[in-house]
Symmetry: C3
Subunit: 348 residues, 3 copies
């Protein structure tokens, strides 16, 4: 018997899901991630620099950690999902270093059947931990899941209270990280936390075209088994006639593109909210731009501050005019609207 994944009826509020198997992340994951997206943030690509700042090695890219934690949850949470609807309250904890082993578990925190009776929304809080049990990522997502049987009775609806953004007190700078020695010559970008203004918009300028081999290799690396990403034979008679790119792939492309303008954003501290506005496919070219939403001083830290950033990724059009919402919805090119918080060194 093979596993068919959970349907909407299989979830109940309070249910604990232990995701299998754990996954050891190595410098090879970091390298393959670099080849797939092209990020150049110096903490991740120069071990010498990571050590100069007090870390024992280059940490694994935060979004790679997130994708692995997310991927672990797919077989139990979203194998029969129709859509990944949103994120909230995501924080990144201790850095993951090459050799660390990441496990993940989820708790069902909300359920609501849709009026069509064919699907329902499931809210889960997913926590990733390293081999010592320390939290590496902790976030809530909600997802629309198919019912096994339309006639199954609906559970009593229960919707969690979710924060609009992660508060400053919950943002953490990795322990031992000392930004006193941060050298902007290493990143090639002079602008630090002090130099950004709320409302500033940054066109990340470059575009990158997605290939089937790339998004599938990435998605397998994350142990994400959602069928829509891999099976052209089935998808050719699916909603779009082709494989759908994992939404997180776009997050990572946008993060890599954002190096051009946000090169000193050395860490993702929080995922406040996010919407995969439209699907992407192989052949699409992704561009991105960002807006600074908020400048957050970190209690007790003079060397680093946080920026709440909104990054919009679009396909097949440049971003010099900052496409975003349009009318009741979005500019048709927008594929991702992500609200997250980054850390950046401060002038000293």
């Amino acid at each position: 018997m093979s596993q068919a994944g959970n349907f909407f009826e299989d979830f109940r509020v309070g249910q604990e899901l232990r995701h299998a198997p754990p996954r050891t992340l190595t410098e090879a994951d970091a390298t393959l991630y670099a080849a797939l997206y092209g990020p150049r943030f110096p903490l991740h690509c120069a071990r010498t620099f990571a050590r100069k700042l007090g870390l024992r090695d280059s940490p694994i890219d935060d979004w790679l950690v997130f994708h692995v934690v997310f991927g672990k949850s797919v077989p139990d949470v979203s194998l029969n999902a129709v859509a990944n609807l949103g994120y909230a309250g995501g924080v990144f904890g201790v850095p993951v270093f090459p050799g660390d082993t990441v496990s993940a578990r989820s708790t069902v925190i909300g359920l609501k059947e849709n009026s069509n009776r064919k699907t329902g929304v499931v809210w889960v809080r997913t926590v990733g931990t390293n081999q010592d049990g320390s939290m590496v990522a902790d976030y809530t997502r909600w997802v629309m899941v198919r019912k096994r049987d339309e006639k199954s009775p609906a559970p009593s609806p229960q919707t969690p209270d979710l924060p609009a953004a992660v508060p400053a007190a919950q943002l953490t700078v990795p322990e031992k990280l000392n930004l006193g020695g941060y050298d902007t010559g290493i990143s090639g970008e002079a602008r630090l936390w002090d130099d950004f203004a709320v409302g500033e918009k940054i066109d990340h300028a470059d575009g990158t075209t997605i290939e089937e081999a790339e998004h599938m290799m990435a998605t397998r690396l994350y142990h994400n088994t959602a069928r829509v990403h891999f099976n052209q034979h089935a998808e050719k008679s699916g909603r779009f006639g082709r494989r759908i790119v994992y939404g997180g792939h776009i997050i990572s492309i946008a993060r890599a593109l954002s190096f051009n303008g946000l090169a000193n954003a050395f860490r993702i501290a929080a995922l406040n909210a996010g919407a995969h506005v439209a699907p992407t496919f192989a052949g699409d070219t992704i561009y991105a731009w960002s807006e600074i939403l908020e400048k957050i001083a970190l209690p007790g830290r003079a060397d680093a501050g946080a920026l709440r950033v909104r990054t919009i990724a679009v396909k097949d059009r440049a971003c010099s005019d900052f496409p975003a919402r349009a009318g009741d919805g979005y500019d048709p090119a927008v594929v991702l609207d992500l609200d997250y918080t980054i850390l950046m060194p401060r002038r000293h």
Copy 2:
């Protein structure tokens, strides 16, 4: 002068072929293999789990080891091959750990010219060893090889005796591996050796579409230099008009798919027989199903047993009706018919 590979006339029974060069396998090979196929067997993806079971690290996936040993033999054995006809008597020896260096050598054990005088069958026994000389894989394959010259005299035909399956006494559980601590929560699958019945059929459910970049990267990783996999310019006027996917690529896809149903099959112990029934190409979507052929108790081990399994891989059709042989041949969708033996923990 470049090397053109051996033709049928170049082989003689008893000939020893030392394959060049050796190849060090690292955790990067394991990661890239994971990105190419998506296996999730916990012994290979969680170092913490491997250590809990008594190993010093996560071993390299058995089929990755097999493909490297096979690949090493290609320049000497099958560069001028028309078809890879079969396997027999394959056993896997000591596990390969990241950092180990694998060498391979082959002995010609049979030769038979075909009646068309254009080709002949060559049987070779290939042995892979690690840097200490310990055997890591040892198998026989036979292959149809072109003659350099139709008029060359035929050698006296010599066909080796080959076992139908590897006997239980030749199956080995890796030394130091103690399955007492095996935790099915880690694999996500509750069923162990005790729970399978001879004759049981398992539809592995998922399908995965092959891309040119993926099969070529995999095949290069194995040092397999067979021209049909890489050269579209030459293959466009070849038998199929396009590059042919290395048969072992399908074995690895099928193994990864088989996690859904056989997640506790922690090791490949033997390759009993196998046929690449039809060629596959980029764009094909591979599905797989398995049948339990035999349950084998292992002498002196209460913690693990062996299952002889037949896995059938097909293309561009689901496997819920278990397609296999049909009439004198195979269902036209079948591309691989593999008879192998896996190890699985027993209840205790």
Copy 3:
């Protein structure tokens, strides 16, 4: 504000450019490089062999080091380049081992505006160093760069003196490397330095077809951000209607193909000259052949000699007739004409 790269007006002779960020190379880079190109030179793929010859580990492939140094220079030197025109005086210094961190800087050594006033040629000398400051690669390249504004005044033209080839005294054999134990059984090729003759031509026989996913992953691995390689949306209205493959990708393919005939060329010692004669695209199949230009004895070394080699790479045609120059230009299939120096063991 994102960075738009330097235009011709931004360069001045004597200008120093420090390229960001440094990049730690690991065994994962070596593995991914192997999967992308398929080189089988034993020093790089068998750690046991590297240690037998006195090195502490398998060094990173020389061209991978070169591409990373080159890639580091792209955002500052050639983001707005129209063409990469040539190389000269390139030497490879200390080997790079897994774990080493490579930095790069360039000096502008020549400038000359083109008569159309739209572009100019910039000569830069680029030096890559490891974390100890030791030189790993040092070469000159010149590149045609767009002007920001046609009306900008032209700088006084300054053209550097460049050597036709790197002289023997500047070629270095890695310290500690002792070729006394070199075993041609490991490479599978019996011919050593002594066996090659000036004027000998070698058809490397094999061909390999380029995929979009492969050249983009390689180019990202090198931190090369030139837009023409990644953005199909922009390039569809560009000069060729599609993404252009990084020229260094062809160098690495040609080097891997040259294993068939030059398997004992254990190191690249110098890059004398090179021209990317024509662009290549995904779907092209690359073949290569080489000519021995010069045999160079190395002062004080009886165990190794150098060969100056010209390797020509072509697309979509075999090389048995050694296509090269034709009339005033090149055979239309030629894409690369590379003049470099390799090291090879001598008989003893």
